[in-house]
């Protein structure tokens, strides 16, 4: 699968070289610590040049992550990391783009942007940190919260069915879809690495417990219901990937591992073709364009 990886400028660095001076602000026991560790490892294993890495997030506990990663970075608005990242990527296809954020950020307020990141195949890696709750605002239900969750604004229990991010992203046409647990740092690192190496839109859902506000989905219960994909799972078959998720739903399971991978042109590649077709180049004489408006 190693196609041209112009988006990955490489250097030799160690895990610690990706750490900033800022101390992670998460609660003790928060799964986000694990995601960060996995991310450091993935970056070091690939050897991503931090000068060519842009780490972008929205708002939420999880969205604080870029402060802890040595890179260029943007801490944007709630739900808007995806389109901001799209702008960075299309303007500068030479950069490695890493987006991360929470379940509310990505699938509630930001939910309208997700289909388009995926179907347009924007060349970036999106790491969802799904704690099935709103952490930063202190414990309201999120679209991935289990229905029965009694929370801040649901004192009598919730009334809505949760959604499943990986099924969504498969439907949206993400060209790389995987799922892992924050407690499994090794798998997390491995999948983030593969996602970043993938040319196209890669989505990695990490179930990341929030011990402070979500007591029904703790690290243990995540682990208990997780189920590795079968060895013979065909990652190139979208129908099989959806089927695997549907079956897991039926059995109350959380499928982990690589669900789907597809090689297809990214939006920046297609746009580059279009420029070529138009005979475009930065030096193109503006007067030729202006001349078209002479009467």
């Amino acid at each position: 699968m190693n196609c041209a990886q112009t988006h990955l400028h490489k250097v030799e660095l160690e895990t610690k070289d990706y750490k900033t001076d800022a101390k992670p602000f998460w609660c003790p026991g928060c799964g986000d610590h694990g995601v960060l560790t996995g991310m450091y490892r993935a970056l070091a294993e690939i050897g991503v040049d931090p000068n060519y890495l842009v780490n972008i997030s929205g708002i939420g506990c999880s969205s604080r992550l870029p402060y802890f990663v040595r890179s260029y970075k943007m801490h944007t608005l709630h739900g808007r990391a995806g389109p901001v990242a799209t702008g960075v990527q299309l303007a500068r296809p030479d950069l490695a783009i890493l987006v991360n954020g929470g379940d509310g950020d990505g699938f509630s307020i930001g939910g309208g942007h997700m289909p388009h990141l995926a179907r347009k195949n924007i060349n970036m890696t999106y790491v969802l940190m799904d704690n099935r709750v709103y952490g930063l605002t202190k414990g309201q239900v999120s679209p991935t919260s289990q229905r029965q969750m009694k929370a801040y604004t649901t004192p009598y229990g919730g009334v809505e069915e949760p959604l499943d991010p990986v099924l969504y992203m498969l439907t949206y046409g993400a060209s790389f879809v995987a799922q892992t647990l924050a407690t499994n740092v090794k798998m997390t690192a491995q999948l983030i690495k593969e996602g970043m190496e993938h040319r196209g839109f890669s989505f990695i859902s990490v179930l990341s417990q929030c011990p402070t506000f979500n007591t029904i989905d703790d690290a243990k219960s995540f682990k208990g219901s997780s189920e590795e994909l079968q060895d013979n799972h065909d990652v190139s078959d979208i129908d099989a990937a959806m089927h695997a998720v549907n079956m897991a739903h039926k059995n109350g399971k959380i499928p982990v591992g690589l669900l789907y991978r597809q090689e297809r042109p990214t939006l920046d590649e297609r746009m580059a073709d279009l420029v070529k077709q138009a005979g475009g180049h930065p030096g193109y004489d503006l007067r030729k364009i202006i001349d078209l408006s002479r009467p």
């Binding site: 000068n51 402060y67 801490h75 299309l90 500068r92 309208g112 503006l286 202006i290 408006s293």
Partner: protein
């Protein structure tokens, strides 16, 4: 009746070729060396409905659509009905008859010319050529330059094959013949100047697209909306030639988000929208201001509030443009008078955004969006281009360092050692979140004092008239062009009146407003909105207490309205 300044209105059912007829007249006049200024109204429906295209052409520069037409060409009864009240004595009136769908009751003193447009076109085998018959007749009757017209028709139809071309040219000729057979009773004639200047003809929207290209646009993201979409169309056609990127976003929030991303990545980026879209961008504009990420946002205003009157003219987004984000949030707001400004001030918008690292809003309006005007050939090299302050790579990089001019150097991704965070949280000089009172006050002061330079650097305020005057008129946007002519007429009558035409609306060039006010007995602000939005800001920010003259009927002012308002105020 100045024969060197003629206004022809073509009106009828959308789809009958009204728009292309108007375009042919406009292009031909411009090609012949005349100045043009057009004005259109579109049907609200996609197909059918009343459409109108008015061309004002003159040997002298034009600044507005004029008071009313000198010549009306009505393709159908609805067009006649809607315009009948404007058929004053002396007006020339060309209509489809006999054989049209109406029989006009021509008012006294109006010069009527019946041209059987429908009938002739049918006879010639294609009802589609109806407008060519009309065009031929108009050309003959009013000396609309025949040669340029034939060239332009040819250029348009050649691609469609010789049969189509021939039938159109024949219909045109037939129209001329029909008209030649009629007694010419009026005295309207186009007179082209001997000398041709080097011009282009552009609509306001296209000119904004061109301005952006000249400024060095790299990235354009937008979501379609009337009346701004043509900017995207122009950019879509030409930006790829320059190697740039255009994306249609899923909504306006995403389009501005993409623009900020591209800008962070070191590129010049813009979006264009209208009121409803701008209303969705308030939060992201705050992000631009707080994170000091340059962006250019064009708002082509339309009739509001809410979905409002999407195809109509209004200047009513100023409140939101200046105050539309939460918190204390700054931005630069420019507005354009005409097509020439659409080029020059779009360039300026980029320059200011890049220099001051903040959002710059450029306000245009529905009438200007579709108005095509002649402007001198815009020589790209004549427009100064400003680049953002770049980090010199020395020492430890601090993205938000407080400098003498409060502008901090930027480092684009890929710059070794320039790693930093762009953040919407309050932060210290290196971008780390910091919520202490001292830091917040210092950083707010930094972000606002930075903008103090804007008024000094860039105050394209034009004062029309010298010395003291009994009355001063302040206008913005395309209303300026109307006021210019109103004032010229008033002066010719000996009325003591001055004009003040700001193009930088925010931050306000307060001193210049006040200096102008000091020379005027009374001051009035003319604008096309209900609440008197610029007047509000003038009252709030300057020592002036102007009267407000507002209309909001979906149409621009006319010079005559300005003239009579001034007379009323001075009575």
């Amino acid at each position: 009746m100045n024969k060197n300044d003629l206004i022809i209105r073509v009106a009828g059912e959308g789809g009958e070729g009204i728009i292309s007829t108007g375009d042919f007249i406009t292009q031909a006049c411009a090609r012949a060396g005349l100045e043009v200024y057009t004005f259109k109204t579109f049907p609200a429906e996609i197909k059918g409905g009343y459409a109108m295209y008015q061309t004002r052409a003159s040997a002298a520069p034009l600044f507005n659509q004029g008071d009313t037409f000198d010549i009306l060409c009505a393709f159908n009864g609805e067009a006649y009905d809607l315009n009948r009240s404007r058929l004053r004595p002396g007006t020339a009136f060309v209509y489809d008859g006999p054989g049209g769908d109406f029989e006009p009751d021509v008012p006294e003193g109006v010069h009527a010319y019946a041209i059987p447009m429908t009938k002739t076109a049918k006879e010639m085998g294609s009802i589609k050529a109806k407008n060519m018959v009309a065009l031929g007749a108009l050309s003959q009757l009013f000396d609309i330059p025949e040669q340029p017209l034939r060239e332009i028709i040819a250029a348009k139809f050649t691609k469609k094959g010789t049969t189509v071309l021939e039938s159109n040219l024949n219909a045109f000729t037939r129209g001329r013949e029909l008209a030649a057979a009629l007694p010419k009773t009026d005295s309207w004639r186009m007179t082209a100047p001997a000398e041709k200047r080097d011009v282009v003809v552009l609509s306001g929207n296209d000119a904004i697209g061109l301005g952006a290209l000249i400024a060095g646009l790299d990235f354009f993201a937008a979501y379609p909306i009337t009346p701004a979409t043509e900017i995207a169309r122009y950019v879509a056609r030409h930006l790829p030639k320059r190697g740039g990127t255009l994306i249609q976003a899923e909504d306006e929030i995403a389009s501005l988000a993409q623009v900020l991303g591209a800008s962070f990545a070191g590129k010049k980026a813009m979006t264009a929208t209208s009121g409803p879209g701008l209303a969705l961008m308030g939060e992201m504009l705050g992000m631009s201001f707080m994170s000091e990420t340059p962006c250019v946002v064009v708002d082509v205003q339309r009739g509001g509030p809410s979905t409002g009157l999407p195809t109509k003219h209004e200047q009513s987004d100023l409140f939101m443009a200046i105050h539309g984000s939460h918190g204390d949030c700054g931005r630069i707001v420019l507005s354009v008078e005409g097509v020439s400004d659409c080029i020059a001030l779009t360039v300026e918008a980029f320059n200011l955004a890049e220099k001051y690292q903040c959002p710059v809003l450029l306000l245009s309006d529905g009438s200007l969006a579709f108005s095509t005007q002649t402007v001198p050939y815009p020589e790209p090299a004549d427009y100064p281009i400003v680049a953002r302050k770049a980090w010199d790579g020395k020492g430890e990089y601090q993205r938000y360092v407080i400098t003498d001019d409060y502008i901090s150097p930027m480092a684009a991704p890929g710059t070794p050692g320039g790693m930093h965070i762009a953040t919407g949280l309050e932060h210290d000089e290196i971008g780390q979140p910091n919520y202490t009172g001292a830091n917040h006050e210092a950083m707010q002061a930094k972000r606002f004092r930075k903008l103090d330079g804007v008024v000094k650097d860039f105050a394209p305020v034009e004062v029309d008239g010298e010395g003291d005057a009994e009355l001063g008129i302040i206008a913005w946007g395309s209303t300026i062009g109307v006021v210019r002519e109103g004032i010229a007429r008033l002066r010719a009558e000996g009325v003591s009146v001055k004009g003040f035409y700001p193009k930088l609306l925010w931050p306000m060039p307060v001193e210049q407003f006040e200096a102008f006010g000091a020379t005027c007995g009374k001051v009035v602000v003319a604008e096309v909105n209900y609440l008197g939005q610029l007047a509000h800001f003038i009252r709030a920010e300057t020592n002036l207490r102007p009267e407000s003259y507002t209309i909001c009927g979906g149409l621009p002012f006319t010079p005559a309205m300005i003239v009579s308002k001034v007379k009323e105020m001075l009575r």
